[in-house]
Symmetry: C2
Subunit: 350 residues, 2 copies
Amino acid sequence: MTKIVIDAMGGDFAPRQQVLGSVEALKKDKDLYLILCGDKTQIEEVLAECKYDKSRLEIRHTTEVIGMEEVPTKAVKTKKDSSTVVAFRLLKENEADGLVTSGSTGAVLTAGVLVLGRLKGVARPALCPIIPNHRGTGTFLCDCGANLECKPTYLQHFAIMASAYAQTVYGLESPKVGLLNNGTEDHKGLPLQQEANELLKQTDVINYVGNVEGRDLMFGDIDVMVCDGFTGNIAMKSVEGCGKTISTIMKREYKKNLWRLICAIMSKGIIKSIKGSMDYEKIGGAMFLGLNKAVVKGHGNSKASAFAICIAQAAKAARGGLVDKIKVMIDDANAKLAAKAAEAEETAEA
Amino acid sequence: MTKIVIDAMGGDFAPRQQVLGSVEALKKDKDLYLILCGDKTQIEEVLAECKYDKSRLEIRHTTEVIGMEEVPTKAVKTKKDSSTVVAFRLLKENEADGLVTSGSTGAVLTAGVLVLGRLKGVARPALCPIIPNHRGTGTFLCDCGANLECKPTYLQHFAIMASAYAQTVYGLESPKVGLLNNGTEDHKGLPLQQEANELLKQTDVINYVGNVEGRDLMFGDIDVMVCDGFTGNIAMKSVEGCGKTISTIMKREYKKNLWRLICAIMSKGIIKSIKGSMDYEKIGGAMFLGLNKAVVKGHGNSKASAFAICIAQAAKAARGGLVDKIKVMIDDANAKLAAKAAEAEETAEA
């Protein structure tokens, strides 16, 4: 039985959508056990409407909630009985194999590091959402906001962790990794990108293909895109705005006259397919990589089905041994870097 | 008569599309005079196919071309008789009021600064393309690749120059300026964004609305988006890839079966309108702001009509006194900064 702990109070529509999503996930996966952290009364109210296997769901009552506007470090340190902190504590105490939350990103990042803890050897944990792409496979974008200021080794670790994730959870044999830059040539970018490009070339545990550009996030031939968290945030939100804009323009154009409305009705299936190909929610949440357990951060406005997908992601990561896989690959890369540094020192001494 | 000098040899389809575009521009604007720099024989070959007012077009024969792959500084310094360098020299020597080129961005940036020269008081010239947005007005994105590493004052100058451009060439009375950041709160971003945010707040020659996010590039309510050139490049190319991806998915979906093909044929007008709303080429080229004259950089793959729009942009900027407007606004901002620094010094001494 795979045990996943749920932060039932985090998110714009919590706890209702989180509870409904949990029930949906339980129905789809008979080998899943869920621990819901949150207000018992509120959770039970929603559960009363549902049919589900009661032997595979338990509630851990909590009395506090971390709001979206709170200062993360302060909130995590003071709200010890919040659903988010309690969920991470259960994970830390090995009561579960993974965690799903739609809570405040800042609080989740903070609780992940402070309560659960960073995986040994990993420079910095990072957020890795999957962005829809033209091939329908999705691009793993890492980091996407956890680390604004980065060093080349951080980017190397992001590349390794996202590769391990794509392999373990999505079965990609040898995911192609690109470094997000302002051009494909080797000399492109700021010192960070230039140095990271060289380091990634030497990292043989991943399939590095070189510098890539913003357009490759959705229209490229890569599986993993690596960047600092600031740049990742800009890229992700830029394509989000573009998608919204095209959708708005389509709606406007289809409503311009009666003939167009008829076309719209006829094309309903097509429009639905197009929207489906671009739907973030169907793809799942962002994996928080580099912690001691599998953690999935769902979108704040996740509805039940989207939340259920996040739970399935966490379960798959736990079963696939994502954390162990990351550990092996990071240790290998770190050992090679250390050996190289020692060699360089010897040469310098000689 | 407004005189615009044309780099007829720069671009993927040069000189043919550049010459055809020049002829198109001359037809639309009876007060326009063009000087085409490039290979006389090749230019005349294309002109022979066209009807145009011969009294308003002259050719300046050049013998060299700067290729897309050349190292910009080296190319500009050694290829003195290239169409790009000669065009900038004519501008410098006051033989024209503006310049249009689809040549290599690196060479154009270099020649702009080295041959034509930076406008006095401007910290760094910057590239300002216009990105289609949901309101149909376009967002002025500045900088978009000229300056990878920036200081807060650079960003302040980008904001001022892009505002002057939106006012002079597009008639926006008080363009709303946003700083591209990873969140809207004041504490967001790296030190560059945090300091630039404070500086922009104090810049009263512009209408600064605060931090904005990647999604606001196309889906926001701002007119000008300011950022360093690296971030601007990432944002612009990310939305480009998103647009291409949606277009690819639409094509695929509409071709899936006969019924869908019929829908596609019926919806032809709608699809054309949607594509039109997102068409970069119809919007024009990127203005290279902060030089001593109006310079427009067209897309490398510009066809005649797109190139003609770039010429119209340059003519409008020259007629509207864009460079003078920038000078007045930058001098004002610099004077205020200097006064403030002097005041702070006095307080410290007292």
